[in-house]
C-alpha cells in the first residue's frame, strides 16, 4: 500500500507540474496584466517601474522558472493587488470557510443521495420512488446557481436562516452553522440527484443477484439482508462517481461562495481573475488541483477497501 501511494504521489507531482505550466502560460496570454489593470491612471513610466519591481518585465520563460523555484519552497508568492498579503496567507485565511461548506456538501450530498436512492429502490414504483426520481431529474438538469437563488428567495431570511453572509469571528461554530445551510444545499443538490439515481439502479441490480436469494434462504432478518448483503454491495459503484462529484463541488464553491458572500477561496478566485492578480490565480488554481488530485487518490484507496476483489498493489490472479 505504501509503495502504491508513493507511486501515485510521483504521478501527482507530474500532473501538478503540467497544471502549473499550462495555467501560467494561459494566464499570461490573457489581455492586460495586474499593473495596467490596477494602476490605469498612473503615468506609463511609473507603471513600468512597478513592473520592474514585481519582475513582470522579464521574459516569460525566466518568470516561469522563477515561479517553479518559488513553488518548490512552498511559496505561492505575493498578491499584486492587495500588497502585503502573500497567497499562502490568503489560502490560510480563506480556506476554513471553503472547507467547511465543501466538506459539508460532500458528506450531506452523499448521505442524502444514497439514502434517497435506497428508499426509491426498496419502494420502487410507489409515490416515494416517483418523488425521489423527480428530485433526481430536477437536480441533474437545474444548475446550482439557480437552486441557490431559489433557496435565497424561498428560505432566505425565514426563521434563523440568513440570505447570505458568514459568521463573525466572535461567533462559535454552532452559531455559524445557520450561514452554511443554504450554500450547502445549493452546492450538493446536483450530487444528491446523481447519487440517488446511481444508488437506485445499483440496489435494483443487486436485489436480483443470486446471492441475495442465498442470504434470504438462511433465515436472517430482512434488515440484515438489506444492510449486509444488498446495500453493502450496491454502494460499491457509488465510490466510482465520488471523484467526479467532488470535482463538481470544488468548482461549485467558486460560484456559490460569490452568491452567498462567503469569505472563501472561491470568492477570492473570482476577485483575483477580475483584477488579473496573477499569483493569486495561479496559487488558488494549483491549490484546487491539488485538492482534487488528493481526493482522487483517497477515492481509489476507499474503492479497494470496500471491494475485496479490487487490489491496488497486486495484479489480479
Amino acid at each position: 500500500m505504501g509503495k502504491y501511494i508513493l507511486k501515485r504521489a510521483s504521478y501527482m507531482i507530474f500532473t501538478l507540474f503540467i497544471i502549473v505550466t499550462a495555467t501560467f502560460f494561459l494566464m499570461n496570454a490573457m489581455p492586460g496584466d495586474p499593473i495596467s489593470q490596477q494602476a490605469r491612471k498612473m503615468p506609463p513610466e511609473m507603471q513600468q517601474m512597478l513592473r520592474h519591481k514585481y519582475g513582470l518585465d522579464k521574459p516569460i520563460a525566466e518568470r516561469w522558472i522563477m515561479y517553479l523555484k518559488q513553488l518548490l519552497h512552498g511559496n505561492f508568492g505575493d498578491s499584486f493587488v492587495t500588497p502585503g498579503f502573500s497567497v499562502n496567507e490568503i489560502i490560510k485565511y480563506k480556506m476554513p470557510a471553503s472547507a467547511w461548506i465543501g466538506i459539508q456538501a460532500v458528506i450531506v450530498g452523499l448521505l442524502i443521495g444514497v439514502i434517497l436512492g435506497i428508499i426509491a429502490a426498496f419502494r420502487r414504483n410507489t409515490t416515494a420512488d416517483y418523488i425521489v426520481m423527480f428530485i433526481a431529474i430536477l437536480g441533474v438538469s437545474v444548475p446550482g446557481f439557480v437552486i441557490a437563488f431559489l433557496l435565497q428567495t424561498v428560505l432566505g431570511g425565514k426563521g434563523n436562516i440568513p440570505i447570505a453572509g458568514w459568521k463573525s469571528a466572535s461567533e462559535t461554530f454552532a452559531q455559524g452553522l445557520r450561514f452554511t445551510i443554504l450554500p450547502t444545499i445549493a452546492l450538493c443538490f446536483g450530487s444528491i440527484a446523481t447519487y440517488a439515481r446511481y444508488m437506485r439502479t445499483s440496489v435494483l441490480d443487486v436485489i436480483n443477484q443470486d446471492y441475495i436469494l442465498t442470504a434470504q434462504a438462511k433465515g436472517i432478518s430482512r434488515i440484515a439482508v438489506a444492510v449486509k448483503h444488498v446495500i453493502r454491495n450496491a454502494i460499491i459503484p457509488i465510490v466510482t462517481i465520488l471523484g467526479p462529484q467532488i470535482a463538481t463541488i470544488i468548482t461549485g464553491t467558486i460560484v456559490i461562495e460569490r452568491i452567498f458572500s462567503i469569505p472563501g477561496m472561491g470568492n477570492s478566485m473570482i476577485e483575483a481573475i477580475n483584477s488579473n492578480d496573477y499569483n493569486v490565480i495561479l496559487g488558488l488554481t494549483i491549490f484546487f488541483s491539488l485538492l482534487y488530485i488528493v481526493s482522487l487518490l483517497l477515492v481509489d484507496i476507499t474503492y479497494s477497501l470496500v471491494d475485496p476483489r479490487i487490489s491496488l498493489t497486486k495484479k489480479k490472479k
Binding site: Q209, D210, Y211, L213, T214, A215, Q216, A217, K218, G219, I220, S221, R222, A224, K228, H229, R232, N233, I236, V306, D307, P308, R309
Partner: protein, 339 residues
C-alpha cells in the same frame, strides 16, 4: 420413515405484461425423513419455482402463489407462516443451494462470515463460536486449509469449491431438508461427480432429506430414492428410482430416458433429443401438455388432462395410455435399466 413435507396442489403464476404465466399448475408431492427425492424435467417446467415456493422465495409481485396451495412442513402450512416462523424455517429446518455457485455467494463478505450468519441466527452462537464452527463446516465439505480459507472472499475460490461452501452454509444448522436446485449443472463433469458424492456422504452421516432438482436423469440414478418427472408445471409421473428406470410408463419419461447418454452409445450415434418445444405457459393447453410432442397422442389427449393412475403404492402416472380402452404400447427399446 415419517412424512416431513407435503406439497398439496401448488399453483404459482407470474403476472407479466403479456398476461398470467402459469408456471406451476397443481403440483403435489411428499417427502419423507432422510430420503432423496429427485425432481426431473426440461428447462422451464417449473422445477425451480416449485422448490423456491417451499421457502417462499418467490418474489411477489410478479409471483403469486395461489390460495388453494398448501405446503405442510411437519403439518404446519409454510404458506401461512408469519415472518418469524418463516425465518426459523429458512436455513434452520429447510436449506437451499442454487445452480450457479459463481453468483450465489456474496462477493464482499468473507466466506467464514457467510457461514456464520446462519449459525448466529439458528444456533444462537456468538461471532467467535460461529466462525470456529464455520471452520469445521469447511473441513466437513472437504475444503483444505479451512482455518485460512474462512478469512477469504468468494473470488479466491474455484467453482467447485464455492459449491462446497454453499453446501456448508446450507448444512450448517443441521436442517431436516436440503433443497438442491441443479447443484452441479454449472460445474464440469469431474467436479459434478465429487459434489454428488459429497451430498450422498453427508446425507448418510446427517440423515438430511434432499430434494434434488435436475434436468439430467443420469445424475440422479445413483443418489435418488424416488423420482418425480415434471412437465409444463405438472407432475406427469412419479415412482421409486427403480420403477422410473425399469418400468417407466409415461411417454415423456421414455423420451427423457432416451436422451440420457449411455456407456454403450457409439460415437457415431447422435444423442436423442425430444422434438418440439414445451407449451407456452401463458396459454397452457386444456389437454395433456405433452400431447403436441407425443408419438402416441390420441384424440382425447388434446381435449382432457388425464387423471393420475396408480401403478403401485409408489408409482403414479398421468397418461391416457394407461386407460383400459387405450391401445397397448410398448416403451421404446433400449431405454432405462441400468445406466
Amino acid at each position: 420413515m415419517g412424512k416431513l413435507l407435503e406439497v398439496k396442489d401448488l399453483r404459482v403464476s407470474f403476472h407479466t405484461y403479456a398476461g398470467e404465466v402459469k408456471a406451476v399448475r397443481g403440483v403435489s408431492f411428499e417427502l419423507n425423513e432422510g430420503e432423496t427425492l429427485a425432481i426431473v424435467g426440461e428447462s422451464g417446467c417449473g422445477k425451480s419455482i416449485t422448490s423456491k415456493s417451499i421457502l417462499r422465495l418467490i418474489p411477489s409481485p410478479p409471483g403469486d402463489i395461489k390460495k388453494e396451495s398448501q405446503i405442510l412442513y411437519k403439518d404446519k402450512d409454510i404458506l401461512k407462516m408469519n415472518e418469524k416462523e418463516l425465518r426459523m424455517l429458512r436455513g434452520g429446518e429447510i436449506s437451499m443451494i442454487f445452480q450457479d455457485p459463481m453468483t450465489s455467494l456474496n462477493p464482499t463478505m468473507k466466506i467464514g462470515k457467510q457461514i456464520a450468519e446462519n449459525l448466529i441466527v439458528h444456533r444462537g452462537m456468538n461471532k467467535k463460536e460461529a466462525i470456529k464452527e464455520a471452520v469445521k463446516m469447511l473441513q466437513m465439505v472437504g475444503i483444505p486449509n479451512a482455518q485460512e480459507r474462512v478469512n477469504q472472499y468468494p473470488h479466491q475460490f474455484s467453482g467447485g469449491m464455492r459449491q462446497r461452501v454453499m453446501i456448508a452454509i446450507a448444512l450448517a444448522c443441521n436442517p431436516k431438508i436440503l433443497i438442491a436446485d441443479e447443484p452441479t449443472t454449472a460445474l464440469d463433469v469431474t467436479i459434478q461427480a465429487q459434489i454428488m458424492d459429497l451430498m450422498k456422504e453427508l446425507q448418510n452421516n446427517l440423515g438430511t432429506a434432499i430434494i434434488l432438482i435436475t434436468h439430467d436423469l443420469g445424475v440422479v440414478a445413483s443418489i435418488a430414492h424416488r423420482i418425480q418427472v415434471m412437465y409444463a408445471g405438472m407432475v406427469v409421473e412419479r415412482g421409486t428410482t427403480d420403477e422410473i428406470f425399469y418400468n417407466p410408463k409415461h411417454p415423456y419419461t421414455w423420451a427423457l430416458l432416451k436422451s440420457v447418454p449411455r456407456l454403450e452409445t457409439k460415437h457415431k450415434d447422435t444423442l436423442y433429443s425430444i422434438k418440439g418445444t414445451p407449451p407456452d405457459l401463458l396459454k397452457p393447453p386444456v389437454g395433456c401438455p405433452f400431447a403436441s410432442r407425443c408419438e402416441y397422442c390420441m384424440e382425447i389427449c388434446k381435449e382432457q388432462m388425464p387423471k393420475p393412475t396408480k401403478i403401485s403404492d409408489t408409482q403414479e402416472v398421468s397418461c391416457f395410455l394407461l386407460h383400459p380402452n387405450a391401445p397397448k404400447v410398448e416403451p421404446p427399446q433400449g431405454i432405462g435399466g441400468k445406466l
